[in-house]
């Protein structure tokens, strides 16, 4: 592997990692506050991508599609939390199993509506070209993905540590009953945070549709990656999601180039080692 391919794989890893962060940040946000392993996260990703695809097809506007993917899935998230998850609040197995059942429904509904052919979301013209630097030529859209990842990370960090809602969320992570007793309706907070996590999945779906493509089964593939990222980084930790995403992105990129036969093994083996060393992930904490 010469320096140029190494540079390209490095960029591939970082850009893919950025997409993974967008995906995993929503997952870890929901886990952090509500202790729900949302196994329908991949389904929400897929629905977001397809919603964006449809809006893009109708309007031809990528940014409108972006809003539709985020807002549409956020509304779906509001409904899921209110109707399905609230009745089984705080009972971990029923919560997990509900989201698992939901994952199947979402995947199958997407198949029924959008069909089985893979779809790729066209990149907007402004991001369509490529950039030359340091002797490498690299697609602009992929670099834009890094920007999206950074903006999301900064936004979530600001939300959590510099806003009132963030303070309430952090308090809710520590002691939801106490927050409730202070006169804050924690149920509403749960509801909004779930919707925010879902919206991030929806946005990731649109970017993922442009980055990879949308196909039946993309939901479980992405869920798998999100779970690995979150287990490595530590469930509930924002910084952990950043570290985990970059790690998984880089491993995926270099393994694809070097040992394609063992692609998933190279992903899971480090995860097992990290779990053996730190059972709650690199930056996670026990409950």
């Amino acid at each position: 592997m010469n320096l140029e391919t190494f540079g390209l794989q490095l960029l591939n890893g970082i850009t893919f990692g950025s997409l993974l962060f967008l995906l995993a940040s929503g997952f870890t946000l929901i886990f952090g506050l509500m202790r729900i392993t949302n196994l329908s996260h991949g389904g929400l990703y897929l629905i977001g991508g397809y919603l964006g695809l449809t809006v893009l097809g109708r309007t031809g506007n990528f940014w409108l599609a972006l809003i539709a993917a985020g807002a549409g899935v956020a509304v779906l998230g509001l409904a899921i939390e209110r109707v399905l998850l609230r009745p089984v609040r705080n009972r971990i197995m029923p919560e997990v199993l509900l989201t698992l059942g939901l994952a199947f429904v979402l995947g199958d509904v997407a198949l029924a509506i959008w069909g089985g052919d893979p779809h790729s979301i066209p990149v907007p013209p402004i991001l369509g070209g490529s950039i030359n630097a340091l002797g490498l030529t690299y697609p602009t859209f992929r670099l834009f993905m890094v920007l999206v990842g950074v903006v999301t990370a900064v936004g979530l960090w600001y939300l959590q540590y510099h806003t009132l809602l963030g303070a309430i969320i952090r308090a809710g992570v520590d002691d939801p009953n106490m927050v409730d007793a202070m006169g804050i309706d924690i149920k509403v907070v749960f509801n909004r945070v779930f919707a925010l996590g879902a919206a991030l999945a929806g946005l990731a779906g649109l970017f993922g549709g442009a980055f990879l493509s949308l196909y039946p089964g993309a939901d479980s593939d992405t869920l798998l990656l999100a779970v690995v990222v979150v287990i490595i980084g530590g469930p509930g930790s924002l910084l952990g999601a950043i570290v985990g995403s970059l790690l998984v992105g880089l491993i995926d990129s270099f393994a694809t180039a070097l040992v394609p036969d063992l692609l998933y093994f190279t992903l899971f083996a480090p995860m097992v080692v990290i779990l053996a060393w730190r059972p709650y992930g690199l930056l996670g904490k026990p409950l």
Binding site: P94, L97, L98, V109, S220, Y264, L275, A276
Partner: protein, 337 residues
């Protein structure tokens, strides 16, 4: 320690006898198609019972059990069809490999509790699937491995049915003894309150690990039976969908009962094999059944049946396992003694 055992009633005994007779005479009563379907029910029933050891008795549903089953299925497939081993050492090796994987992930899982435990089982299933899907020189990737020949005395469908029936019966008895033993009662104690059992001096970690190994062993046996049933194994048989279907069998039938998961396996296998010809959207139906059971019928089929039995017999029957996984989550760690 027979604290939780209900004395069987006459209808239950009569029903058991009928089931036994029908089970033994099935190849004389039904066509080869239905005998095959029932064979499948027994294989998945065993898998579902292996899930129930953790999900119903320990209170933590493993989400990657089809992957555990897959270890045994792939090892025996490889040894028989590619390395041309005879079947007894191949079976021994398949089960040993499954136990090894269960040991590794068990050691990781028992260091955590609650939802982290569940996530590690998810990772376990994904790891096996990932290897099966990608390591094409050994597993044949998506094409799978074919030509997994059955033992010479069980090659025809009805012979294989009896073979599976005997294996299932032996495993069911062993599992029944296991969950009724003091060991099984400790597992239930951990399910209801981990901190209480720890305070009482039980080695919670060791019990969890042994439960993990026992669950893995029986899943491995199911894997061997599955590999021989189809004489073919591919990644799609052991992916997360397969793991989920197996969990659905447990949840639908009634966790923490052993018999319930077998009933659940019966329902799901029959729906898949018979109704799926008429119903196009199987994943949606499966998802909706899942959601419906979790929201409205957490005791499952068997729990509902038992409840009616209690009503008619004025409370003499002690229920066991009716709230298997419902109680969890609020209890782990923080509950008072």
């Amino acid at each position: 320690m027979r604290l939780v055992t209900a004395r069987p009633t006459w209808p239950v005994i009569a029903l058991t006898v009928v089931v036994l007779i029908v089970g033994l005479a099935l190849p004389y009563l039904a066509t080869s198609f239905y005998v095959s379907v029932v064979t499948q029910v027994l294989v998945f029933g065993l898998l579902a019972m292996s899930i129930d050891v953790l999900g119903g008795y320990l209170g933590l549903m493993p989400l990657g059990q089809a992957g555990v089953m897959g270890v045994a299925a792939y090892v025996i497939a490889y040894l028989i069809s590619k390395a041309h081993w005879s079947w007894p050492p191949a079976v021994a090796m398949a089960l040993a490999a499954t136990l090894l994987v269960a040991l590794v992930f068990g050691l990781l899982a028992v260091r955590t509790s609650g939802i982290f435990f569940v996530m590690i089982t998810l990772a376990e299933g994904m790891l096996v699937w990932g290897l099966a899907y990608r390591w094409s020189s050994v597993t044949g990737a998506e094409n799978g491995i074919r030509g997994i020949s059955r033992p010479e005395f069980a090659t025809v469908y009805w012979q294989y049915y009896y073979f599976v029936l005997v294996a299932f019966a032996v495993c069911a008895v062993l599992l029944g003894l296991l969950v009724r033993s003091p060991f099984g009662l400790v597992l239930k104690g951990i399910r209801d309150s981990e901190s209480r059992m720890r305070t009482l001096g039980y080695n919670v970690t060791l019990h969890k690990l042994l439960a993990f190994l026992a669950s893995g062993l029986f899943a491995g046996i199911a894997g061997v039976l599955y590999a021989w049933y189809n004489q073919f194994i591919s990644p799609s048989a052991i992916n997360i969908t397969a793991s989920t279907e197996a969990v659905l069998m447990v949840v639908l039938g009634g966790p923490g009962t052993l018999l319930g998961p077998v009933l659940g396996a019966g329902v799901i296998v029959f729906i898949k094999n018979i109704l799926s010809a008429y119903v196009a959207r199987w994943p949606t139906i499966m998802g909706l059944i899942f959601i419906g059971v979790v929201l409205f019928a957490q005791e499952g089929i068997l729990g509902a049946l038992r409840r009616t039995q209690v009503r008619t017999r004025s409370g003499r029957v002690q229920l066991h396992g009716e709230k298997a996984w419902d109680t969890l989550g609020t209890s782990s760690g923080s509950s008072p003694l």
